[in-house]
Amino acid sequence: MLKNTASTACPRRSVGSVLLEFFGSMNLAITLLIVIAIASVIGTVLQQNEPYTNYVRKFGPFWFEVFKSLGLFDVYSSGWFLLLLGFLLFSTSVCIWRNTPHMLRDMRNFRLDVKEKSLRNFHLQAAWESGHDAETAAARSAAMLASRGYRVRQARQGEHCTVAAMKGSAGRLGYIFLHVAIVVICLGGLIDGNLPLKLKELRGELRAETRDIRASEVPLESTLGVDNPSFRGSVSIPEGGSSKVVFLQLRDGYLMQQLPFSIELEEFRLEYYSTGMPKSYESDLIIHDDGLEQPLRQTIRVNHPLEYKGYAIYQSSFGDGGSRLSMRAWSLDLPQQEPVELQSGVNRSLRLTTTRGERTLEFTDFKLHNIFPVPEDEGSGKKFRNYGPSFIFRMRDPAGEALEYVNYMAPVEVEDRMFFMSGMRSSPAEDYRYLYIPVDAAGSPQRFMQLLAAAHDDVRVRATIKQQLADMVDDDEASRDVQEKMIGSISRLLDLFVDEGIAGIVKHAEENVPEEQRQGAIDSYINVLQGVLGVLYVEVLRDEGIMVADGISEADNRFYDDALNALSILGAYGSPVFLQLNSFEHIEASGLQITRSPGKDIVYLGCAMLMIGVFMVFYVHQRRLWVYVMPHEGGASLLFAGSGLRRREDFEQEFRTLQGELQQAVPPV
């Protein structure tokens, strides 16, 4: 192929032509195609543009530096990769430059001047004598070929006349389209790429900001004006909020890009499938622009962006925009309950002075729906259950240690009893371990909290124990201080139980009771505690005004068991308070991506050419036919020959059929 294309370079060997030779060479082109393909792999196996700290952790400081200097963390805009693309671009251009002219010429040139000798060397040829005289034979062949869709020319040179026919020359245009398309696409891409930013950065006019600060505080050297022709950034706007800037991620930092208008998020809507998967998310946007007489309102969805003044605004993600939370804090330590009302919100924090010292509450997230699969064993037909709203917060102690909690607002049904559910974990790596606080008739944790408070109330506890023991001991000095001792140790046991749960009791036994009697001791401890707590529970019921004279109801009994279970793991819960969510105001945030890419249309033009070109190149191929006619003994002798650029096999078939038809049009004698 190359024989009649590339190698027709000008003979003069100036430096320029040598360079042309080099860049236009097919070998370079093919090498580039392969090298670029291989280089592109890097960026797919190595996560690009992550925070540098991640890389350091992954590769260690040494390799981090090496990779960084090679630009491997942002391969596709690293100098050497762009250079490779540049080479391909140049090579393709040179290739077009050198091939186009003669290809165009070739499309028009019928090669009427072929010599008989060269035709005889063709792979596809046939010769025969016919009764027709040369003139007619030529005319008839020409007509036949023309009727088969060939473009035909005839010429008579002295004795003989030549019929030259050609078809599918457009295939050559295909080549030109295809390769020009590649150049066009690359150029369009260049316009939209971040090369300009790179240059500015090199000139020191730009610096990526790495601190997490408010937009107003971002320094000028990290800010891009509205004159920046192309960028691709993102911003998260809470409902009711608005933004005049977007942020472009740049390696381990970001740049702030100003917009000529401001985007307000009126409302964000998230819809779910029954499986809890998000079905759609959409944002009602309002564009405020001095250019507009009234603000522009538009709803965008994934796959349905908003185009405005060459800026495209896309729905890309969502999150919490600082939902307001009002909570009731129940102390888990105090001897009498007066719950405290708290106000805060997501992404905000709160300082509490608790029985265990200073605590900071950092509210990290709020979820309106928590849809989880229902475990198979549960007989209900439903596949999924919505556990309703929940909020997540971290509780940090002065030492900086934090525990993470997730509390559900609505009581959750477990084995047809209702509980407040609160999960705790000490690191995101773990699963939550859940505390189930039984819900009283009024639908509040009140009763449980009263019981807990009572258990913390030393006076009350001692009184109760005393009562319990009263009938066991008789009233004399000796037994009275035995009693005192017992009261002391039992109340200590109780404290242990509510502070550390069963574990505490067991530990206590292990420390004070010899191996063989231990189990017995533990059982009797539990008995005693149950007795005491039971009495306290009855008192709590009585305070609620429930008649307990004639026995305790089945429900209240079960409540007691659940309460004991809750108490026994309270120790591990690790928090001095329980936060109950009373009410909330859900504020969502919409993650928008905003781009400006003037090169897009150029790229699309290139794409169109590419698609047309590639099909032309493959499915329109140039074929040439010649009928060389000479007078021969009153008749004429015909030499029919053909050459096709590609698809020899197909062309050979076509040639043979045409030969047959030709031999009917101009029959052999």
Partner: protein, 388 residues
């Protein structure tokens, strides 16, 4: 210099392409047109304008296909009838899929796909048998099996489409949206491409080889269904809810199909090339012919893959806000594309033929496979369909 005179041209006049169409061709055209209009009216509420455009575009394509490659008609008719039957049997109730015998064992999407799987494997075995014993009859049986497998596969997809809407109006989607579904598409398209060349060259000897790659896909399909429950119809994430899906994915898989076909032919080529006068050589097509098929398959694949990648870029521009993000899936598409571009240049401009290019075509298939499953398995990115 003179130009041929008209009366002479009249003498040799040949009917134009359209004139050569017979009554049946027009009937076919009418049928397709009518049914697409019906589909339009019937399902107007479920389609936006783009999708309506796609509907008629597809109809046009189908008419043209049926004219240029006649068997497509029978195939489409069978698929249409089976699908309509399934739809009427369902009568708007998914549960019938369990209760109704015919649905349960024949043409509920899952059963149809099982039939497809079985038939493709049988076809492969038959083709190999035919090749070994040189029996033309068994070879024909092989083609028949392949045709029916293809019919079942496409029916399965059509019915699955309907089923997805029976699960929920808001769930429904065209079943080319996750790894499970595109593997069905891949098998079907590869088989169809092979059948085309089979008829074009009037020679069935390569059937076994090509059906091997299809059967491999089928094997994966079965594993994926039984081990991972991938056949469960899951609703689409927002990013995939777009008409682009209907353009981008099928185009892409014509590309993959072409590359797969080329690789299998290349394999046959290399086997013959090792012993030019060996036992296989007597049973397989000539080296020239295989080389030719290999080139044509890659050309076809390349052309469609180019279009698919462009469509993908346009979709990306609409969904993610950038026509090119160097996302792993995109990047691997580019890698595949560059690879075959190099292949084509070596063949066309450097005149390479035969063995090296055959090897390259086989390696090319592995690169393609990685682009199409590997990326979802090993790399993370924006492409949110089917991870393993």
């Amino acid at each position: 210099m003179s130009v041929p005179t008209d009366y002479l041209q009249q003498e040799f006049k040949q009917d134009s392409w359209l004139r050569q169409l017979r009554g049946f061709d027009w009937l076919w055209g009418l049928l397709v047109a009518a049914s697409s209009v019906y589909a339009h009216v019937r399902y107007a509420d479920f389609m936006d304008n783009y999708e309506i455009g796609i509907l008629y575009g597809t109809a046009g394509l189908l008419v043209w296909l049926g004219w240029t490659w006649k068997p497509v008609r029978q195939l489409s008719l069978v698929i249409a009838l089976l699908s309509l039957l399934a739809i009427s049997l369902y009568g708007g109730e998914l549960s019938r899929g369990e209760s109704n015998f015919f649905l349960k064992y024949m043409i509920s999407s899952q059963s149809a796909i099982m039939w497809m799987s079985a038939l493709y494997v049988m076809a492969m075995v038959t083709y190999y048998f035919a090749m070994i014993v040189r029996s033309d009859f068994s070879a024909r049986v092989g083609s028949a099996l392949t045709w029916s497998a293809t019919a079942m596969g496409l029916t399965g997809l059509m019915v699955r489409w309907h089923e997805s809407y029976l699960i929920g109006q808001d769930v429904g989607y065209i079943p080319v949206s996750n790894l499970y579904e595109v593997f069905i598409l891949f098998s079907v398209i590869t088989a169809l491409l092979y059948l085309f060349y089979e008829q074009r060259y009037q020679n069935r000897q390569l059937g076994g080889f090509v059906l091997t790659v299809v059967s491999a896909a089928v094997a994966f399909l079965l594993w994926y269904a039984f081990a991972r429950g991938a056949h469960e119809i899951q609703p689409l994430v927002p990013a995939l809810q777009s008409y682009w899906m209907k353009l981008h994915v099928p185009t892409n898989f014509v590309g993959y199909g072409g590359f797969a076909l080329a690789a299998m032919v290349a394999l046959a080529y290399l086997l013959v090339d090792r012993r030019p006068s060996g036992w296989l050589a007597k049973r397989l097509p000539s080296l020239e012919q295989m080389d030719d098929v290999m080139y044509k398959a890659i050309a076809l694949g390349f052309a469609f893959f180019t279009v698919a990648t462009v469509l993908g870029a346009m979709w990306a521009a609409e969904a993610w806000g950038g026509y090119w993000s160097w996302d792993p899936k995109e990047t691997w598409a580019l890698i595949v594309w560059l690879n075959y571009a190099a292949w084509l240049h070596l063949r066309l401009t450097k005149g390479w033929r035969g063995r090296p290019l055959a090897w390259w075509a086989i390696i090319g298939l592995f690169i393609t496979l990685f682009a199409f499953i590997g990326v979802n398995m090993f790399l993370s990115g924006l492409h949110s369909y089917g991870t393993l």
